[in-house]
Symmetry: C2
Subunit: 438 residues, 2 copies
């Protein structure tokens, strides 16, 4: 039984958090005056009214954006109180100037909020390689602090401001009890393209890291949690959520998940059972945000949960799921509603995972359901008719179950189809450079 | 200076080879009578009039089609005299029956040609998981042997018969001198989709194998070459041609390259310098066929030769090239004519290859040309204008040069853009199952 329930307000649902989002014309390098002139918001701020513990997970891409480098540095002490995020420019591959710009963003917000710059974190998403339009950002930061509010509409504005190719804002909050106290976790996120995150706490690539958008997620909680516990909990939550999604198999230079925990719920030090409840709630928030990203992926029409079990090792399970979830041919067959198990087993066969044809089971179920319709058992087609299998893969969301029958390795990957719209969107229009994607 | 020149006739250009291609209705499981009724040909035979030495390279996909298993077995002794190939059905994941069917195909042709079944090789390409329509195949093999001919039109019919989603037949032949004797090498091939071959001589995956259509290529030569030398030469030629192409990053269950060498040129045992000439000619034949496959890849509008140098290791160079050449975002930008170096460096950064942002050079040139237009030097954008870079990536074929400046590893990958047409073709039409792709 779930020990938490959903509430409104996303990142301002926990006590003591304020947010804002406005338009400062990051992308067009124009003459934005920091006010929302009916244009898409592109600057967000999240702030805790009191000092907070903080943890983060960052892209393991070797090409890593300036704001990510800043966050790794500023979060090392486990403390942070505010985040400033822009969309429209990734501030990636921008050299020493980019790093200086990221630090200026932190310093400007710190100055406005009377914080230490090292207690401010920065996030950016958009096209790679362009200098940050700092005049616009400076004006924007001066303006946005006047709009900070704990009203859900303020959180919604922040969620809108971090969107790039997203078609809708991604927000969630839950409430639960920890030792008698009411605790809340809220979050906002953005995804859409360049999505196959593989994040670690320092951005360093562990030997075992999945090599695989910009996805950004910002979490707030009023739970009282020490920094080390917060880091452990975030790492676990990200491992089974954001690090398990793929839209196009491209890992971004900017992937970032941050959590601020300001302790205003006033709970006692977490007991082992409290910790389980907190972890479960955090896992839920992260997984729901992650799934929102897949559902709103660029041009996608279907989300497919690839559930691999029976792999020889855990790594094999992950490799097998990613080979299937990133195969152009599998993804296009999903788009066509074609239950083409041949392409699935082909992808399994070229994955690094150990696969034995005569042992492979492939089945479908409704999303999250247990009743399976097998297309393949022990490598041989079942008697399920083409029409039956077509019905199984027709819904906008369904589960694909793969049992390699070789061991105990399991993995779940939230994947998407590949559509003409994805191609059309990402090929862009070179006659209108401002329209080109990240 | 090239020591060879192009001639007509492809696989029948070398002395003593016959070919044929006809329609026997493999795909529709219909009532084909083995005659070409104006339908697309789908059965091909290539035969040497005298016993020949033979070598092959086969998919390293762990899920490996029945005809591949048969070839590995029949070619082990270095001898073969004929090949029978069908399109429309891959005979993959067809269990013991599929293997029996492949063996029956070899036995039927052997029977007609008075050969040993073990001297007959088999190839199949098409949808995975469907039983072979053996009645049609049996009639087809009986009919096709009557049409065997050494006229170039017969070779062209064979080249047509192995096509699936290919829009045109792929044929080549060259002639050169070996120790005073005129020697010829001819070849036909097919590609189009599920193309990122990684072949080895036994289909076993070497530790260092690239983990990455059905592509089929059949080569003939009248050179006198012993089986071991032939195998070594083929392996080297495939390593720098077919194993260096990617259309969609999906490695097939059926990839196969075969060569038959019947010795009718009457050359002496190859000297070291002869061997170089033979290898150069074979490399040329394989590379030209491989490039024809990329140019005719499903829906593609651009072929991009990704040339990586300065990688820390050879494997790093290959990994870097494949990360770029298989990135959905890089491929869609190529389709759009967008010189988006941000997506390229992003892909390099998440590849397993060691990459240091401050060292990366990215440049373009006309296909095969030396004059480079840099978009990035040492990780920083050059002064090349957006329009200049757009012009560089506008041609249907261009080269992308990446220098990681970390070592001596080099790799070349022939890659393609990703288009709406690719998606539309491969999503298929489930209301017409016979139209669905492999």
């Amino acid at each position: 039984m779930k020990s938490f329930h959903s509430i409104d307000g996303s990142i301002v649902a926990p006590r003591g958090f304020l947010a804002a989002g406005l338009f400062c014309d990051v992308k067009r390098l124009g003459t934005g005056k920091g006010s929302d002139k009916g244009q898409k918001r592109d600057l967000a701020v999240i702030v805790s009214e009191v000092p907070a513990k903080a943890a983060g997970m960052f892209t393991t891409n070797q090409i890593c954006a300036a704001p990510v480098k800043l966050c790794v540095e500023h979060i090392a002490d486990g403390n942070a109180q505010a985040v400033v995020i822009n969309s429209g420019n990734a501030n990636a591959c921008t050299g020493p100037r980019g790093l200086k710009d990221a630090h200026e963003m932190a310093a400007l917000l710190a100055d406005e909020l009377l914080l230490q710059p090292t207690d401010v974190l920065v996030g950016s998403t958009g096209r790679i390689g362009l200098p940050m339009p700092m005049p616009n950002i400076r004006t924007g930061i001066r303006e946005i602090v006047k709009e900070l509010d704990d009203d859900p509409s303020a959180a919604h504005h922040a969620a809108e401001a971090i969107m790039t190719s997203d078609t809708r804002a991604k927000e969630i909050a839950v409430e639960f009890k920890l030792g008698g106290q009411t605790v809340r976790i809220g979050g906002i996120g953005k995804g859409a393209g360049m999505i196959q995150p593989g994040m670690s706490p320092t951005g360093a690539r562990p030997a075992s890291a999945p090599l695989h958008a910009t996805m950004l997620a910002y979490l707030t909680t009023d739970a009282k949690v020490d920094a080390r516990t917060l880091r452990t909990c975030l790492r676990e939550a990200v491992a089974s959520s954001f690090n398990c999604i793929t839209i196009d198999g491209d890992m971004s230079t900017n992937d970032t998940v941050l959590i601020l925990a300001n302790g205003l719920a006033g709970n006692k030090k977490l007991s082992a059972s409290d910790l389980k409840i907190f972890q479960a709630a955090l896992n839920h928030v992260c997984l729901e945000l992650a799934k929102m990203m897949v559902r709103d992926g660029e041009g996608i029409t279907r989300m497919v949960t690839v559930r691999v079990k029976g792999a020889k090792t855990q790594k094999d399970a992950d490799d097998a799921a990613r080979a299937v979830g990133n195969s152009a041919l599998v993804k296009t067959s999903w788009h066509g509603g074609d239950p083409n198990w041949g392409r699935i087993i082909d992808a399994l066969g070229y994955s690094p995972a150990k696969v034995v044809e005569e042992k492979v089971d492939i089945a479908y179920s409704a999303a999250g359901a247990k009743a399976l319709i097998h297309s393949l058992k022990k490598g041989r087609p079942t008697k399920a008719t083409f029409n039956t299998l077509c019905k199984a893969v027709a819904p906008a969301e369904f589960d694909l179950h793969i049992n390699l029958n070789l061991g105990k390795g399991q993995a779940t990957l939230y994947a998407a189809d590949l559509t003409e719209e994805y191609v059309d969107f990402n090929k862009g229009d070179i006659t209108n450079p401002a329209s080109l994607g990240g």
